[in-house]
Symmetry: C2
């Protein structure tokens, strides 16, 4: 093979990173692939985004369709993001016999099954290492490293923006809104941050990992998802006093034929490695039946880390093309290995809980609340009630940890507690991941 | 393809693990590979080792040569360990057109280049994920996940026995000999533990990672190697007072065309993730040019973790056979990507150092020692001299941290200091890895 031709759709951060790496590491890439990989076309509606790439004139185009129909292009790299036009372009590229590399977690979590089936039908590869945890090769690890093994559970810090905000709140005692504004100024958070801080981005990545790891199709709408926007510096401070850090986790645990999958802020024991994952870093703590506990840590975003994951996928496909084999590693969902598994409704999970209540500062309040919890089969393991104010009548916080309880019982208790006149704000509830363990 | 036939040589811990996994996970392995993988032969000189495997009568043999010459066997799995007869059997298997999977780090670190060349010549694969860090897929990560990237440096805890001993010394304040004896009783250390505790096993794994990561042939005899047998509970206690944990590390750092590679006990900052790797666990902290810092953590040994890595390699080759392609990922050393790189002599490294001196308890001692260090261009950053005894004339320890200094200067200073009459024991020197950083 003389060389492999690549066409990139979208020159945002990741597209620019991939193009830069293809250029600056060209000699290394050629040696390790066995042939040169050439960027033949790069499409973006915004010409100014090619600045800093010094692309030859003939490489830039504003017409994505011309890239996916170019008969010389072997691999189409979709880095536009979002659902449309990304979905249509990828489907057409697959239909045209192009291999596809994508970093698009929204697309895969919504339409993965359709895209994997199209790749199978047309005999081409679809690779997506960069869609989860940027520079950490977790997709490859699950598909190849743990190929003979069963994943029992995993806990992922998969969104750099949320982790950055929680880290700074923890380090500085700052409140959510202040850190978010600063993160937006620094470019670590979008102008509209809902996608990151409400857990949607983490949910998308969780869906991809479940489809890969368990071989079942997942409806993302059925997965309980809660973000970090209600976390206050009070929660962080009291979690710390109790020996925990608060992290936004993607959680997935298999028990028999049930998959318990959720996204929510979680109290992580401070000695656990996941508690040491700071700022914009990502990590996945994963436990399999045979290999046992493992952890994978690295940058979850950024031009070069994510760009490098994209280029690793391009090289994997180019290596496959040289050897004239495809689907060496079966496509996700292709092996039906997940038959019989199903998602567990969140109401059926068991967990310990952290509660922050905002209540009237008067006698008998604690017993009323404990009474509601008790009637719902929830027992309290510890309570911190901060010193009552002298003037009374004010609002004070109560912090509680519970013993293990059933989520449906806890939700019933929450509804009853929040209806009490003496409860002044909606109670904050954070689940505890005591069961995470590294050994 | 109907099925792929495997022959295992050696039914020790790893061989038994691989055989068990091939059996208990057979349905999953068949689905994910696209065809069944059958254990056709299992050879061991000791028949009793097949107990617990319930192998069919026709599978067991005591004749390894009959396995590598069996025309129906596609993949030979060498799990005998050591240099001979493993080397001859692997070479003959490759010559017979068999793919080879091995977990043998001693073999690869001594004869890797010869074996890789033989695999290339005969058009077959040689896979060795299980040779480094057991269940952690670090070989795959370097060859595929980081294919377009350059490794700048890595720090590995690669020997579970040494890490177990250091962990228990740290947790319990116990001394080396006591913990070693207990580890031997528990089966975590061999009757002859030299291989593990003197750093040889770590050195073998370091050599494999260097050949893979940098594409250069390495002479293991040129790599500075020091074990943990001289570490005392005093060193561990004082390292902890200074904010460090002592770990046996494989260190490799690239600077220009020089590779600084070493194995020795190292002071690791206590906040660093590597300091959180306890007991028999392994971890590799690795930094690349584009992806940046990453860490990979998991079990480095054990029947099922290492057996699973072996079976993952078998599956990778079986998947390749189904698609009729080999050397999709180039063999180590095949791409000449390391031309121009060479090992840096240890005398040229720069480091900070921890020193424990055992000296006469009398005035002027510290100034004599500081004088020797100063004349060798070494400056002291902190000193702990424990309270002098009332009676004088006794031996007391002095603990020092130095600023960054050159290894050759430090070795000269050590020779001069150890020659002083007031120095009663050979001075303990441990290098500090302040430069490790996760962000």
């Amino acid at each position: 093979m003389k060389h492999v031709n690549v066409g990139i759709l979208g020159l945002g951060t990741v597209g620019t990173g991939a193009a830069k790496i293809l250029k600056k590491n060209a000699a290394l890439i050629t040696k390790r692939t066995g042939c040169p990989i050439r960027l033949k076309k790069a499409a973006d509606v915004d010409r100014s985004r090619t600045r800093g790439l010094s692309l030859p004139e003939c490489v830039y185009t504003n017409d994505a369709a011309s890239v996916i129909s170019d008969p010389e292009i072997d691999i189409v790299v979709e880095l536009i993001g979002g659902l449309e036009p990304a979905r249509s372009l990828v489907l057409q590229a697959l239909k045209n016999g192009k291999h596809v590399v994508t970093a698009n977690k929204a697309l895969l979590s919504h339409h993965g099954a359709e895209l994997y089936a199209a790749a199978a039908r047309h005999g081409v590869e679809i690779a997506f290492e960069a869609s989860v945890a940027g520079g950490i090769p977790i997709i490859r690890t699950i598909r190849e490293g743990f190929a003979p093994d069963r994943i029992l559970k995993f806990y992922g810090i998969l969104n750099g923006t949320s982790n950055y905000i929680l880290s700074r709140m923890t380090d500085e005692g700052a409140d959510f809104a202040t850190v978010l504004r600063d993160a937006q100024d620094k470019g670590y958070a979008e102008a509209d941050p809902a996608f990151d801080i409400e857990g949607i981005d983490t949910l998308h990545k969780l869906c991809i990992l479940i489809e890969l790891g368990y071989g079942i199709r997942v409806d993302y709408r059925k997965i309980y998802t809660e973000g970090i926007s209600r976390i206050t510096s009070l929660d962080i401070e009291h979690a710390r006093e109790l020996g925990y850090r608060i992290k936004l986790l993607a959680i997935c645990r298999r028990a028999g034929s049930l998959i318990d999958a959720r996204v929510h802020p979680t109290l992580v024991p401070e000695q656990h490695m996941l508690a040491q994952v700071h700022r914009t870093f990502n990590a996945i703590f994963l436990e399999t039946a045979d290999v046992g506990p493992t952890m994978f840590y690295g940058r979850g975003a950024g031009m070069l880390p994510t760009g490098s994951a994209v280029v690793a996928d391009i090289m994997a496909i180019a290596r496959t093309m040289r050897s004239a084999c495809t689907h060496r590693v079966p496509l996700p969902l292709a092996d039906a290995s997940g038959s019989g598994l199903r998602l567990q409704p969140v109401k059926d999970i068991q967990s310990r809980y952290y509660l922050r209540l905002s209540v009237d500062d008067r006698p008998g309040v604690l017993s009323r609340i404990a009474g509601v919890l008790g009637r719902n089969r929830i027992s309290i393991s510890s309570v911190i009630q901060k010193g009552r104010t002298s003037r009374g009548g004010a609002t004070v916080p109560i912090f509680m940890l519970t013993h293990e309880a059933r989520e449906s019982d806890m939700q019933n208790a929450m509804r009853q507690i929040n209806r009490l006149a003496l409860v002044r704000q909606k109670t904050m509830l954070i689940r505890i991941a005591d069961e995470i363990s590294g050994e």
